[in-house]
C-alpha cells in the first residue's frame, strides 16, 4: 500500500478524489488537508510517499507548498488541477504526473502504474522547487504571509523558528535549512539567518568572531564558519 495525502481546499473535490483513490485499492489514505500549512504539518508527522496536490488553494498554492518542504521529507507529487494552464508548468517541475479535474478512474489508473513503477525503482523525488515568495507564520489564529524581503533576521531556539520583522516576531514551521536554501537570507550562525539588506554594520573581533548590527538595532552573533561566506557574499 502506498501512503498518500490528499490536499485540496474544496470539500467536494477532496471527497471525490478520496473516493477514486480508495477505489484503486493500492493506496492508504493518511488524511486529507484543506491548505498548505496544514499539509506541511501532516507531511512532517505522517511522512507520506505521495501527494495528490491541488494547485489553486487559498493563501499558499501547490507550488508554494512544495517550496516549504524539506528535501529529505519530499514525497512524490501528483498535481490535480481543474484547468490545464498549469499542466505544462507541472511537467517542467518534473512532478511525477498530473491529473485534470474531473478525474476519470481510467486516467487515475495510469497514474497509479506510474507511481508504483517509480517507487519500485526507488527513485527519489527531486523537484526543482521555486524560491519562497512568502514565509507562512503563525499569528494569533491567523496565518501571516511574510515576504522574505520584509524579514530582518530569523533565529531558532527550543520553542522553534522565529521570524523577526519591523512589525515584530512571528513563529514559523519552516526549518532554517529550507529558509536558507529558498530565500535570499544568509546564515550567519548555526541558529541565525540574516537578511543582507538589513545589515547596518559588522563588528569584527580578534578571536575570529563577529557581530552584526541590523538596521532596527538588533545584534546578531556571527560564527567563524559563516563569517567567511558572509564576507564573500558582501565582497568584503
Amino acid at each position: 500500500m502506498i501512503r498518500v495525502l490528499i490536499i485540496d481546499d474544496e470539500q467536494h473535490a477532496r471527497e471525490e478524489l478520496e473516493h477514486l483513490v480508495r477505489e484503486t485499492g493500492v493506496f492508504e489514505i493518511l488524511g486529507s488537508c484543506t491548505n498548505a500549512i496544514d499539509a506541511l504539518r501532516r507531511i512532517r508527522t505522517e511522512k507520506p510517499e505521495l501527494l495528490f496536490l491541488d494547485i489553486e488553494m487559498p493563501a499558499l498554492n501547490g507550488f508554494e507548498l512544495l517550496a516549504m518542504i524539506e528535501d529529505e521529507l519530499m514525497p512524490h507529487v501528483v498535481f490535480v488541477t481543474a484547468y490545464n494552464e498549469h499542466a505544462l508548468k507541472a511537467f517542467e517541475e518534473k512532478t511525477l504526473d498530473y491529473l485534470l479535474k474531473p478525474v476519470s478512474p481510467e486516467r487515475l489508473l495510469k497514474t497509479v502504474n506510474k507511481v508504483r513503477e517509480t517507487i519500485r525503482r526507488g527513485d527519489r523525488p527531486c523537484y526543482q522547487v521555486e524560491s519562497l515568495r512568502h514565509i507562512p507564520c503563525q499569528f494569533a489564529n491567523r496565518v501571516k504571509l511574510i515576504p522574505p524581503s520584509a524579514v530582518e533576521y530569523i533565529f531558532s531556539d527550543v520553542a522553534g523558528i522565529h521570524v523577526v520583522t519591523r512589525e515584530g516576531q512571528f513563529f514559523t514551521e519552516l526549518t532554517l535549512k529550507v529558509l536558507e536554501e529558498r530565500t535570499p537570507l544568509l546564515r550567519c550562525q548555526r541558529q541565525y539567518l540574516v537578511n543582507p539588506e538589513s545589515i547596518d554594520e559588522i563588528k569584527l573581533f580578534d578571536n575570529g568572531l563577529a557581530e552584526i548590527k541590523t538596521l532596527i538595532g538588533n545584534t546578531l552573533p556571527v560564527s567563524r564558519r559563516y563569517l567567511r561566506q558572509l564576507k564573500v557574499y558582501l565582497q568584503l
Binding site: 481546499d9 474544496e10 470539500q11 467536494h12 473535490a13 471527497e15 471525490e16 473516493h19 491548505n35 489553486e56 487559498p58 493563501a59 481543474a82 484547468y83 485534470l100 479535474k101 474531473p102 478525474v103 491567523r142 496565518v143
Partner: protein, 565 residues
C-alpha cells in the same frame, strides 16, 4: 470757389472709379493683412492709373494743372505702405513731369513726396498696432490734407519764376486741398463700407457652416448609410437653400432631396458623367449652367440646370459624393459652391471619426467575447468536479446544480443584446453563484440587498458578472476562513449604484493582461453614459474590496413613484 466745384465734379468721376474698384477682385487685397508681391503689383497698377487719371481730368490754370492726382498716390501709400506709395507717386510724378509747364518739376517731386506721406502714416499705424485705422476716412482726409499743403510749399520752393508760383498757389491751393482731401476720404469710406458688407457675408457664411456641421455631426456618427444620408441631405438643402441635394455612395444614390425628386430616387445607380468623374478623379466637379449645362440622364423635363459634385473621402479613398443642384431658372451662387466644398471636407472628417468609433466598439465587442470564452473553462471544470462529487451523496442536489449550470451557459450564449435589465443580470449571476456556493460550501456566503424599484434598470450586459467572478476568484477563493460577498443596488444623489463587496481585500491594481473584465465594464459605461459614470474600486487590504458601478438614473425610473419618497 468755382474751381472747388469743378474739382469736386472730377472727384465724382473718381468716386465712380472707386466704386467699381470696390466691386472688383482687387478689393480682396485690402484685407488689412500683409500683402504679397503679386497683390502689390496689382495695387501699383491700379493706383498709378488712378493717379494719372487725376492729372488728365485736371483743369489747366495759368500754365499749370489743378488736379486730383494726389488721391491715388496718398491712398497707395496708406493701403500698401511706403514702397507702394513712393512707386505710385514717382510714376505719376514722372508722368506729370513729361507733360511740361513751369510747375512740371515741382509737381513731379511733390507727387512722389505725397505717396511717401501716405506710406509714413501706414508705418505709423502699423507700428501702433492699429491697422484698422488705415481705413478710417478721417485718416485719409488728414493725410491728403497734409500732403497737399506740402505740395503747395514745394511749388513755392521749386517753381520759377517765384511770382508766377505765388499767383498760382493763391488760386489753386484752397480748391486742391479741399477736393483732394474730401475725395480721398470718400474713396476710403466707400472701400470700408464694401469691406464691412463682405465681412458680414463672411460671418453669415461661417455661422451657416457651423449650423450644418452641428446638425450633421450626430447624424454621421451613426455611420454612412441611406438613412443617415437622407437626414443629411435634408439638413444641407434647408441650410443652403439650393434646389436639390443628392448623396451617393460609390455605386448608387443614397438620398435625394428637393426639386426633381419625382424621377431622382434613392437606390438609382450613379449615372451622370460628372458624378462618375468626381468619384473617379477624386475632385470637385462644377457644372455652372451656362458654359456647360447639367443634362439629366433620366428625364428631358428635369428642371435642374447646374450642379456641384463634391467627393466624400475617408482615409484618402472616395466613398461617395455630395451633389448640390440648382434649377435652370436660377444661377449657382458662388457662395454655395465654396460652401459645398467645405461641407465635403467636414463630412470626410466626420466619417473618419465615426469609423473610428465603430471600430472601437467592435473591439470592445470582441474583447467581451474573449472574456466570455476565457472565464468559462475554469469555472466549468470545477463545477463539473463538484457536481460529480455531489452525485454520490445527493442526486437531487446534483440535478439541481446541473440545471443551474445549463441555465448559466444558455444565457451566456444567448446574450447578444447590449442592454439588459438589472433583473436579468441578477438572474444570470444567481445561477453562477449557486454553483460556486456548492463548490465552496461553508466558505462562501452571499448577501443580496437590491432595491426592487431598480429591477427594471437598463444596464449593459455582463456588467455584474465580471465583478462577481473577481470577488470569488481573487477574493473568497483566496481566503482561509469564511468569505462573504455582498451584492447591492440602490440609488443615491440622483445616481444608481450597483456594488459588489467581499471581505478578502485582496485587490491589487491589475496589469495590462489582468483586469480585462473590470476594464471593459468601466469602458462601456463611460462610452454609453459619459466619463463621470463607471467603475470605482475601494480596497482596504485584508479587510474588504468594494467595487462600485455608477449609472445615471433612467428617466422612467426617476418618474416612478418609488422614488418620490
Amino acid at each position: 470757389m468755382t474751381l472747388v466745384f469743378q474739382l469736386l465734379q472730377q472727384t465724382a468721376v473718381i468716386i465712380v472709379i472707386a466704386y467699381l474698384f470696390s466691386k472688383s477682385p482687387a478689393m480682396d487685397y485690402l484685407s488689412g493683412a500683409r500683402l504679397r508681391p503679386r497683390q502689390l503689383l496689382v495695387l501699383y497698377v491700379v493706383f498709378t492709373l488712378f493717379s494719372i487719371l487725376g492729372t488728365y481730368t485736371g483743369l489747366p490754370i495759368q500754365g499749370a494743372i489743378a488736379n486730383t492726382r494726389a488721391i491715388g498716390a496718398v491712398l497707395a501709400g496708406l493701403i500698401g505702405g511706403p514702397v507702394l506709395g513712393l512707386s505710385v507717386g514717382l510714376t505719376a510724378g514722372l508722368h506729370r513731369f513729361s507733360l511740361g509747364g513751369f510747375t512740371a518739376f515741382s509737381c513731379g517731386v511733390s507727387t512722389t513726396v505725397e505717396g511717401l506721406i501716405g506710406g509714413l502714416v501706414y508705418l505709423y499705424l502699423i507700428r501702433r498696432k492699429n491697422p484698422e485705422q488705415l481705413f478710417h476716412p478721417l485718416v485719409a482726409f488728414s493725410a491728403t490734407l497734409v500732403a497737399e499743403v506740402l505740395q503747395m510749399t514745394i511749388i513755392l520752393l521749386l517753381a520759377r519764376p517765384f511770382t508766377d508760383a505765388v499767383a498760382l498757389v493763391k488760386v489753386i491751393a484752397m480748391p486742391m486741398i479741399c477736393a483732394n482731401s474730401i475725395g480721398a476720404a470718400l474713396f476710403i469710406s466707400m472701400v470700408r463700407d464694401q469691406k464691412r458688407v463682405r465681412d458680414k457675408v463672411g460671418a453669415r457664411f461661417s455661422s451657416k457652416a457651423f449650423t450644418v456641421a452641428d446638425r450633421t455631426l450626430g447624424i454621421l456618427s451613426r455611420g454612412f448609410s441611406s438613412e443617415t444620408a437622407r437626414e443629411m441631405a435634408e439638413v444641407i438643402r434647408e441650410e443652403t437653400g439650393v434646389g436639390a441635394v443628392a448623396i451617393t455612395d460609390r455605386k448608387e444614390i443614397l438620398a435625394f432631396s428637393g426639386i426633381g425628386d419625382d424621377h431622382h430616387h434613392a437606390g438609382n445607380p450613379v449615372v451622370t458623367k460628372w458624378s462618375k468623374q468626381a468619384l473617379r478623379e477624386n475632385r470637385v466637379v462644377f457644372v455652372n449652367g451656362y458654359d456647360e449645362h447639367f443634362q439629366c440622364p433620366l428625364s428631358n423635363n428635369c428642371p435642374l440646370g447646374s450642379a456641384l459634385v463634391v467627393p466624400l473621402q475617408m482615409d484618402q479613398e472616395v466613398v461617395g459624393t455630395i451633389s448640390l443642384y440648382e434649377p435652370k431658372t436660377k444661377l449657382f451662387l458662388n457662395i454655395n459652391r465654396s460652401f459645398g466644398e467645405g461641407l465635403a471636407t467636414i463630412f470626410s472628417h466626420q466619417l473618419l471619426r465615426s469609423r473610428f468609433e465603430e471600430q472601437k466598439s467592435l473591439l470592445i465587442q470582441s474583447e467581451l467575447k474573449l472574456l466570455q470564452a476565457q472565464v468559462n473553462p475554469h469555472f466549468l471544470f470545477n463545477a463539473l468536479n463538484t457536481i460529480m462529487a455531489i452525485i454520490r451523496k445527493d442526486a437531487d442536489q446534483a440535478r439541481e446544480l446541473l440545471l443551474q449550470l445549463s441555465n448559466f451557459f444558455r444565457t451566456n450564449l444567448k446574450r447578444n443584446r447590449d442592454i439588459v435589465t438589472l433583473e436579468e443580470e441578477l438572474a444570470h449571476i444567481s445561477s453562477y453563484l449557486e454553483i460556486e456556493k456548492a463548490r465552496f460550501g461553508e466558505r462562501l456566503r452571499v448577501n443580496q440587498d437590491i432595491d426592487s424599484a431598480l429591477l427594471g434598470l437598463q444596464i449593459p450586459v455582463f456588467t455584474l458578472q465580471p465583478l462577481i467572478e473577481n470577488a470569488i476568484k481573487h477574493g473568497v477563493a483566496d481566503l482561509l476562513d469564511q468569505g462573504q460577498i455582498w451584492v447591492r443596488a440602490y440609488h443615491q444623489d440622483g445616481l444608481v449604484v450597483i456594488e459588489v463587496e467581499d471581505n478578502a481585500g485582496n485587490y491589487s491594481k491589475p496589469n495590462d493582461t489582468q483586469g480585462l473584465g473590470m476594464r471593459l465594464v468601466d469602458q462601456r459605461i463611460k462610452n454609453i453614459y459619459g466619463s463621470e459614470f463607471g467603475l470605482t474600486v475601494d480596497c482596504e487590504p485584508q479587510q474588504k474590496t468594494l467595487v462600485q458601478v455608477k449609472f445615471p438614473l433612467n428617466e422612467e425610473l426617476a418618474n416612478d413613484s418609488c422614488f418620490n419618497h
